[in-house]
Symmetry: D2
Subunit: 489 residues, 4 copies
Amino acid sequence: MQFRHPFDPETDGDKLREECGIFGVVGAKDAANFVALGLHALQHRGQEAGGIVSHDPEHGFNSARRFGYVRDNFTNAAVMDTLPGPIAIGHVRYSTAGSKGATAIRDVQPFFGEFSMGGCAIAHNGNITNAVALRRELIERGSIFQSSSDSECIIHLMARSIQKTLAERIKDALRRVEGAFSVIAMTRTKLIGVRDAHGVRPLVLGRIGDSGWALSSETCGLDIIGADFVREIEPGEMVVIEGNRVESTRPFVQATPRFCIFEQVYFSRPDSILLGRSVYETRRMIGVELAREAPVEADLVCPVPDSGTPAAIGFSQESGIPYAMGIIRNQYMGRTFIEPTEHIRNMGVRLKLNVNRALIKGKRVVLVDDSVVRGTTSRKIKEMILEAGAAEVHFRIASPPTAWPCFYGVDTPERSKLLAATMSEDEMRDWIGVNSLKFISLDGLYRAAGEAQGRNAKAPQFCDACFSGEYPVVPSDKIEEGFQMKAAE
Amino acid sequence: MQFRHPFDPETDGDKLREECGIFGVVGAKDAANFVALGLHALQHRGQEAGGIVSHDPEHGFNSARRFGYVRDNFTNAAVMDTLPGPIAIGHVRYSTAGSKGATAIRDVQPFFGEFSMGGCAIAHNGNITNAVALRRELIERGSIFQSSSDSECIIHLMARSIQKTLAERIKDALRRVEGAFSVIAMTRTKLIGVRDAHGVRPLVLGRIGDSGWALSSETCGLDIIGADFVREIEPGEMVVIEGNRVESTRPFVQATPRFCIFEQVYFSRPDSILLGRSVYETRRMIGVELAREAPVEADLVCPVPDSGTPAAIGFSQESGIPYAMGIIRNQYMGRTFIEPTEHIRNMGVRLKLNVNRALIKGKRVVLVDDSVVRGTTSRKIKEMILEAGAAEVHFRIASPPTAWPCFYGVDTPERSKLLAATMSEDEMRDWIGVNSLKFISLDGLYRAAGEAQGRNAKAPQFCDACFSGEYPVVPSDKIEEGFQMKAAE
Amino acid sequence: MQFRHPFDPETDGDKLREECGIFGVVGAKDAANFVALGLHALQHRGQEAGGIVSHDPEHGFNSARRFGYVRDNFTNAAVMDTLPGPIAIGHVRYSTAGSKGATAIRDVQPFFGEFSMGGCAIAHNGNITNAVALRRELIERGSIFQSSSDSECIIHLMARSIQKTLAERIKDALRRVEGAFSVIAMTRTKLIGVRDAHGVRPLVLGRIGDSGWALSSETCGLDIIGADFVREIEPGEMVVIEGNRVESTRPFVQATPRFCIFEQVYFSRPDSILLGRSVYETRRMIGVELAREAPVEADLVCPVPDSGTPAAIGFSQESGIPYAMGIIRNQYMGRTFIEPTEHIRNMGVRLKLNVNRALIKGKRVVLVDDSVVRGTTSRKIKEMILEAGAAEVHFRIASPPTAWPCFYGVDTPERSKLLAATMSEDEMRDWIGVNSLKFISLDGLYRAAGEAQGRNAKAPQFCDACFSGEYPVVPSDKIEEGFQMKAAE
Amino acid sequence: MQFRHPFDPETDGDKLREECGIFGVVGAKDAANFVALGLHALQHRGQEAGGIVSHDPEHGFNSARRFGYVRDNFTNAAVMDTLPGPIAIGHVRYSTAGSKGATAIRDVQPFFGEFSMGGCAIAHNGNITNAVALRRELIERGSIFQSSSDSECIIHLMARSIQKTLAERIKDALRRVEGAFSVIAMTRTKLIGVRDAHGVRPLVLGRIGDSGWALSSETCGLDIIGADFVREIEPGEMVVIEGNRVESTRPFVQATPRFCIFEQVYFSRPDSILLGRSVYETRRMIGVELAREAPVEADLVCPVPDSGTPAAIGFSQESGIPYAMGIIRNQYMGRTFIEPTEHIRNMGVRLKLNVNRALIKGKRVVLVDDSVVRGTTSRKIKEMILEAGAAEVHFRIASPPTAWPCFYGVDTPERSKLLAATMSEDEMRDWIGVNSLKFISLDGLYRAAGEAQGRNAKAPQFCDACFSGEYPVVPSDKIEEGFQMKAAE
């Protein structure tokens, strides 16, 4: 295993492209227990590691951070007893491909800072696009970084602020930060939530009984603790919650909302509600749109499990082709085999998926998947389906071609590794080796997401940079590294 | 935690009610790697623990047994390197409710015995219904039991046999054994498979390339290693495989085949093939039959994930009511939270399932589940659905009422705990608290399983004791303990 | 690492040459706690693994076996709470060189057997010299061995006995056994202690308050629990303890006592009492005798820590040469570095010992060590001492030349590896490379051990086979393997 | 267990009273291996945790920190392979009583900081007496502390320095620091060693072959890696080592050397050389002085193992009373039983020590111990000795009464807990309950340490604040907390 160290400056700004889940609670007995449950519901947003910080007047701030699933670390009494108090926040973190060796536990959030007016912990979902420059400047002025995470900049910017309150210092810090972020912070008594001006990453507010509040990346985090969904935190909004008061301010220069459309396609859980709509329903409608845009004669519509399921249902309903479970997922996979034997490494997708042979044999099959990134998995699935005797294989993809990397908190390969960056739809079809391959159009996707008129090309309603190459926030660190933006048309 | 010891004779015959998966390979380089993969595919048949024994001429017999998932134990090189050789067998074991503390690693199969003509390992799926009596007799005559498993009797019976070959000794031993079993055994060079005369538990034969053979509980275990499905081992058959020869004999008194119908309903994987039919298709047909037998006016058909899915699809297709994912399963659950805090223990089903609120609200919902055992989970799911605002809830169950315990290798509560043993269908409906509750009829189930005429009451084609109370093999140990058979009608 | 399996019959009779410590308690609340303490005091007799079995009427027999030190396994409440009851026995086991990989936890004693009249656990210190033959016969007749330990024969012999009580079955079994043994056994209510007819291995009886009894390999095990030393179990004696009664019988053919003299030289703890004498005092007297037999002009007498210390004190006192700590032992070694880097493997003895340079420089040093086996350590110590600038190095050894392997429970290299088997004293001196090398004479050793007239060559008072080659019990398994006894003179 | 968090400011300045060992190497292949060995030799200076940082051009700075012994963490290849390169430093840390739960891994040194001119790691032995004030000031100005260790101040002071080189920044930082310290630091290519102006803590320089250098707390760390002892780093000296050059400067205001006399009495290993003298010889001479100052009629002189041994040898030699091992230490104790049962917690000292009963019975015994702190252990040892039948017990203590806490890197109880702070020698004798109790005089101790004229009261040659209450550096944080210095006489 190659060893990459968190001290290594070369890794900074390189492996911070994670998708995260954040959760916070105030005003509830043993708040950390609620946070653990909320993080469990948000586990799909980050499986590598998790952390919780809590505070109570007697024991002060306490913290626990662990590699692995929430259910394995933050459920037993021995750990949770060390996290007492009525206020707590937490974070789950995604494992970027192959980088486990490089992540020290010190990269696991929430981050904590002790200031002269008291301690403050923060949990950050998103990506700071000027983190390299900020870090360089902060080190120059005497800050000592303890992690390789760009999120740590926020704490150091707070430490440098001359504001008197922690809430004001958070504003000061986030005004220096460029990029996409949703942030949950806590002081001894206040729970704070902030979204960047574009509102790229989600953040919602919930009510726990009569006295408590929760902030969560998604509404499914509220459901699990029995909290009522109050509203989304708005793009550019900061809420400071203490006791029964929720104080709202707008610390940033106003901007057009550009919520991440990939949250609709893939990231968010199907049982969450985004922008007032069921994610499941949006995805089912993608299938419906796909069936209209790219119809095909076939015997069965099968999802690539599990993320293709809602779109496959929609495709089946619109097309009238029967829906079937043609591919079965092994439920005992976990994320991956660890330190596998050579033999097992070579098994690839077969460990996770098996074709329902008796069903597929001799059939013309429509496979509905959420996206095509490198295309390698699509190819393997096609092989399995053909080997099982399918007569024809038609891929229908519930998102447009992914041709550009995301710099706002999503781990994407570099552009040259994205299949759609180098091939046309027909070339992709041939390379994957299927009878047909169709992606939903950008307009079709917008319609499925509730924009009846489709995409407003002048002022797109979502961030769709991964499909369109139009980045709402200039990725300045990346440009410094040599990334080429799409030429203006 | 209460401590139950494997030495404790009172636990014998009590916690042996497990469902297991077995797998064996001969004639393949590093056979244990194939066995690990096969067991991974059979993990749904037993999640508590697993074991593999291999043999090669240089190192003799080697063994590894572990608690936990196959993927966590039998995939890394450090463990697998200790299991060299061209022949290996393995076993996965189910965790009976709450008994983890009681299971010593020594209860984990395969069991091994050193005989004067060489070593022999066996893996057993099923249950020996005269194990208590056999064990008593064997101890009387000087055998020392090392586990609390009834399967260990087989090894001791072999040790007492005066036959000259291990294969003959296995026959001797299994002729003394009553109950339901599929057994895979290995000597230094021979792979052996046996099914009891009724063929209650499954066992299939596969071909690996030109030189190797595999035995597996289900065909999905063959798929994962790329083996070709050759045929089922037949009820009452014993095969001895060495080199390219598969020698078949019939060591037992002949009996009517009575394959376990619950394998069709729930145990086997949907991508397996049983009795020449796709399990998925049988389950989808159960849904079709249910829609015919128990139609209902509703807006949505939702499966209780994941086992209700194929029947829900069939119900939707037959009824025309749209299929939808109304309940979302959390993929990060594992089997259970370990040593949970009080807070989390009280969360119950909410940790595993969440209702798709935006979808369900105001709708009349048909929920399709595989079975009702104690009924407690059904009640909780009903609460979640109503709390999310469903207008009506109709349960449709893909199996008849489970009114009798299984004594053939399935862990079932004692009869008094089975809801259907004490209530009529209407009483169950009221106790669960839903608008309607309907089970598929026994005839409907048989039809879905391919018996066009339904159940032959004179000579039932399957073992359906859990539904009918008609036990093909007398459960003598249980009767000795006081179990009351159904009165003859 | 080479993998040797416990199933492998070739390892039987080969790696069973361990020295062990055994301890048992009856009639004390939570007897297992006392056993844990007793085993901790006996840890020098076996560091690889330990086990305890206890019984109480409510929970029956319980057992825990672990690799590692007693203090790491059998002291915390979580383990000890699983071992309730007023009767318990335990065992610690020595790690034979390099064989850790080969030892399964199933080789760890006590062994347990369930018989028709109840359960029985046994702990065995010693070696059965006809174990290979016994095992062969038992397997032939239908016994299934679960470990590679020769001690398991005792349990199977008990199972075959037709006696009605467990105590009588133990007698039956031990009468079939040849070799050297001290055994502690327990039934539900009885604690049993036995020594072989020669009494090669130690076993003592102690009294706990008014109601309890303890059996221990050495008196230091009684001290730690505050028990009073009552007496030694005599050679050939069996005691059965129940309530306040200690019933003594003599089940074996009488023989001359031949207690192991190496217990005096090295194995037993210096604070134990053997045959009515302080072990420390015997060892100090060895030093006195050595100073008389092999005087030398020198500036300092230094022990090779820690086992050479008492003899070095005696040598100093008799010779008048000042005693000094010329070699300092690192207290943080544990037994060994595990999976060391190449770099550290090459450090050898330097990791454990360091020379007190400022003290040694320019001095003539007498080094007193307990024994010379292969001689390799002596050579390394000599190098360290010379490198530190010693003017002369004189080795004085507190035992005669070790020229023969022990077959009675001590792990010794095969004869050809013993330095004294192939070299004269002068050759050894030259090979080690010191100014002088002297061993105590066999007579001198007997005198130090309290036999004023020295060794009675006609009827030696001790077993001294490792020095003399005169084996009191014929090592029949070894002779079958090809071992050559010393020719009669 | 009470949970104290590293974030908790109340723990700052409270649990930093540790004694540590530090080691560094430059110019040797795989320097971290040497550092691991050096730390193993220094393990007596800190057993709780250890850390190593290394650097090589290809992988940059790498770090590993672990709880537990060096031999358990820093010897196997898997860990050491992550620490490549020709330069490395390390640290072992002492466990302050009962505070394990409070120490996060982040408190484990070396600490690392990334500065604009590159990274720097430091390992600190000692205590900063103005750490509370420094930390307060640094936080005020925007520094974020990540540990509760006072040593972290050094890194933040470096970050604030406007010097251009890391070596100059270390000087800047250490000039702001008050207290006692020896520091080893490393940059990419330079190994740096510094001692405070009084030279309270030790630090020595060694040569590895022709090209490498080592810095170590004690000379025993050089011995284990085969390095030659070159010289001590002098009080107030800073050495910067790169390639073959050792550059020496004096960055601090000059002060009288005041080496810690307790290093002579107890902390340092007996095989180390301090101020040109063997520590063992100094301790033996303490025994000689004690025998002169406080003679007694007795039969045996016994050390309290192991630290009382050299003084007991000296006492025996001077008094003519025979030296004997009257108390035997259990070698398998480790530091402590973890999570013990109630039963075992009550065993106390008996788990570690056993009296050699047969030797002690009826004898008048002189027990030589290194020091008396709270006196509780002395009392228990007395009880054991009397219970074993000793006729008389006389304690002789190899240090003067410990009446004042140390604030320079030694963990001492608060003053009120020190037996000698509240009782006279006679009162202590009666409280412990022995026939006589005598401490060596301060002058006698100085004579044994090589000061023929004893202590120079005007300008003491050592720091002896723990005995005299005369603190060479004002403990300003402690005074702020309320500590009362001894009134000037």
